[in-house]
Symmetry: C2
Subunit: 327 residues, 2 copies
DNA sequence: TTGAAAGCGCTAACAT
DNA sequence: ATGTTAGCGCTTTCAA
C-alpha cells in the first residue's frame, strides 16, 4: 500500500487535517513537536504527496508546462535552462513534454496532454508556428506563450522570440562591412523563422544597393547533412561569403570546403546564425549571430506568470576567425 | 471558468457519468449520437480532462516520470528519444523533469517532485549515482530504473546501462590493434562511469602486457574546455594515441593539436567514447566507441513496465579518420 | 443507454 | 492546537 495522509494520520493518532498541516509546514498553527513527529512518520513510510489530489482540493497549482518540439538543432537546450532557473526562483515546478519529432498530429496530442495537467501556464518551444496548436492553447483558457516563434503571417500576441529579421540583417551587414559584395544565404527553410531571416538578408543587401542573384539563396532544413549537400549548389556563382542558416549548416559547408580544398575564410567566408558551442569547435571557429537562449527562457517564465507583453530578445554577435576582411 | 465535466453535463442536459463515458470513448456502452454530441460540446468549450482528478478516481496512471540530471554532454538526448517512442507505443505518457545541474540538493528536490506526480514508474537518467537519491526512489514504493548508471560500489538491481568497462576496453583494443603501444586515457572523471572506463583501459593494456605510465592518464570533466586544457598535460610522454573520455574532450584535444601544429591522426591518433554527431563534424572526423542511446531509452521503458531484469546495452564502434595504422 | 451516489487524497473553512 | 466536514473533478459500481 502506498502511504497516504490517512495512513499517516492513523499511525500518528491524529486527524488527516493535522497531518496535512504538518506536511505543509504551517508552523504558525501547529505544535512543533507533533509536526516533527508526523514528518518523521511520513518519512519512514516513504510518503509523497499526491499533487493531483492536492491541486484538486486547493485549486492552487505552481506548475509550468513546457512543450518542446525539437528537430535537427538543439537550440531549445539553453531555453530550458533559463526556464528552469527562473521557475525555481519564483517557486514553480516545471514539467517538460517532449514531442520528439515534427509530426503535427503527435505534437497536437502532446499539447493536449500538457493541458490536462492543469498547469498554471504553458510554454510552447518550437521552430515553426502551427495555427492549429495555437488555437488549442487559446481555447484552453490557460495562459500560454510561444517561445522562439514569431510570425507575421499568423500574428500572435503571446510570444517571446528573437527578431529573426534583425538576425538576418545583422549577419549580412557584418559581411558587408568586411567588404563582401557577393554574399549567399544558405540553409534556411520555409517556416516563418526562415523567411524572416531571409527578409533581413534581403533588406541589408537592398540597403547596400546590391542585387541578389537568385542562385545565392539556397533552401534547406538547418541540418548538418543538408549543409554538406548545399555546398555544391553554391559553387560557380562567385560568392566570397555566405550567411549560414544555422551552425549545423555552416559545419556542413566547412566540411565540404575542406574536402574540396577551398579555404575558409580566405576563399569563402562564413557567418552563421544560432551559434552554439559547436561554433567554437569548428575549424576554423565560426563567427555567429547568436541568440541569448538562456535569457529567452528566463523571460518566458516572467512573461507568462506576470502576464507581461510579448518581446523580442536581442541578439549578439560573436566574432571568430571565419570571416575575412576584403579590400 | 474552466470547463469541467459538470459544466459540459449541464450544457448537454445529461449526467456527469454520461459525459465521463462519452469522453472516455466507452463506445460499447454509450449511444453513438449522444457521445458525439457531448464530444462536440466539450470541444467547443475548450475542455481538457483534469488528469489529477482522473487518476484519483480511477487509480489508473499511464505516466512515466523521467528525471534528467544533465551536465556537459548531451548523451541523454538520444535516450529521451528512445523513451518517448516506446512509451508512446505502449500508450504511456512521459513527463520529463530536468534538474539542470549537478547540485545534489536540487536533484533530490526534483526526484521528490517527480514522485509526487504519482507516475507508474520513474526513470532516473544521470551521469553519476547518488545513493541518497536512490534511497528515496527505493522507499517510494514506485518502480524505478537507473538509466545509464551502473556502479559496482553501490550495487543496484534496477539499472539499464552501457557496460563501461567494455567500452574502455574496446576503445583501447582498437588502438592496440592498429599497432599503438603508448596509449593515453584522457578526460574521464572520478564517477563510477569514469572509473569503469579507466578499468577497461587498464585491463586491455594489461592483456597486451603493456605497462601504463601514470602520466598517460589525465582526469577531467568530459567538457570541451577541459579537453583543451588537458592537451598540454599529454605532451612529452611519447604518446602515439589517446582514448578520449568523451567526444567533447576529443574536440578540445583536436583544437589544441591543430593550434600547436600536431597532426591528427598522423602524430597523434584519437578515439573517443560517447560519440555523438559531433564526431562527424570534427576535423578529422572522430572514430568512436558509441553507445546506442536510443536503444537504451527503449529498453528502459520495457524494463520498467514489465519489471524485467537489469541489462547492459551493447556498444558499437564507428570508424572514422582519426586513427592511424602503425607499422 | 443513462443516472444517482460514493469515494479517490487532499485542503480549508468552521468548530472545538 | 487539533478535529470535523464538505467538496475539488472525475470514475465506477449499482440501480433504473
Amino acid at each position: 500500500m502506498k502511504a497516504t495522509i490517512k495512513s499517516i494520520a492513523e499511525r500518528a493518532g491524529v486527524s488527516t487535517a493535522t497531518v496535512s498541516r504538518a506536511l505543509a509546514n504551517k508552523n504558525s498553527v501547529i505544535k512543533p513537536a507533533t509536526a516533527k513527529r508526523i514528518r518523521q512518520i511520513a518519512q519512514e513510510m516513504g510518503y509523497h504527496k499526491n499533487v493531483g489530489a492536492s491541486q484538486l482540493a486547493s485549486n492552487i497549482n505552481n506548475t509550468i508546462a513546457v512543450i518542446v518540439s525539437y528537430n535537427q538543432t538543439n537550440f531549445w537546450n539553453g531555453i530550458i535552462k533559463g526556464i528552469l532557473q527562473r521557475a525555481h526562483q519564483v517557486d514553480h515546478q516545471v514539467i517538460i513534454f517532449s514531442a520528439g519529432s515534427n509530426d503535427p498530429q503527435r505534437l497536437m496530442q502532446i499539447v493536449n496532454e500538457a493541458l490536462e495537467h492543469q498547469a498554471t501556464g504553458t510554454l510552447l518551444i518550437s521552430g515553426r508556428i502551427d495555427p492549429a496548436q495555437v488555437a488549442i492553447l487559446k481555447k484552453s483558457h490557460v495562459p500560454y506563450r510561444l517561445v522562439s516563434i514569431y510570425s507575421q503571417r499568423h500574428p500572435e500576441q503571446h510570444f517571446i522570440s528573437s527578431d529573426n529579421v534583425a538576425i538576418g540583417e545583422e549577419a549580412t551587414n557584418y559581411l558587408l562591412k568586411k567588404g563582401h559584395r557577393r554574399i549567399g544565404f544558405v540553409g534556411i527553410d520555409h517556416s516563418s523563422t526562415g523567411q524572416q531571416r531571409l527578409f533581413g538578408y534581403q533588406k541589408a543587401m537592398a540597403a547596400a544597393q546590391l542585387t541578389i542573384d537568385p542562385h545565392w539563396v539556397c533552401y534547406g532544413d538547418y541540418s548538418y547533412q543538408n549543409g554538406q549537400e548545399l555546398f555544391a549548389q553554391l559553387r560557380g556563382h562567385g560568392l566570397t561569403a555566405v550567411v549560414a542558416g544555422s551552425d549545423m549548416i555552416a559545419c556542413g559547408l566547412i566540411k565540404m570546403a575542406n574536402q574540396t580544398g577551398i579555404k575558409v575564410p580566405d576563399q569563402l567566408s562564413i557567418i552563421c546564425i544560432d551559434g552554439s558551442p559547436i561554433c567554437e569547435i569548428a575549424n576554423p571557429p565560426l563567427t555567429s549571430v547568436t541568440q541569448d537562449f538562456f535569457r529567452m527562457g528566463v523571460k518566458s517564465v516572467d512573461n507568462l506568470l506576470n502576464n507581461e507583453r510579448s518581446l523580442f530578445i536581442p541578439t549578439k554577435l560573436v566574432e571568430r576567425a571565419s570571416v575575412k576582411q576584403l579590400n
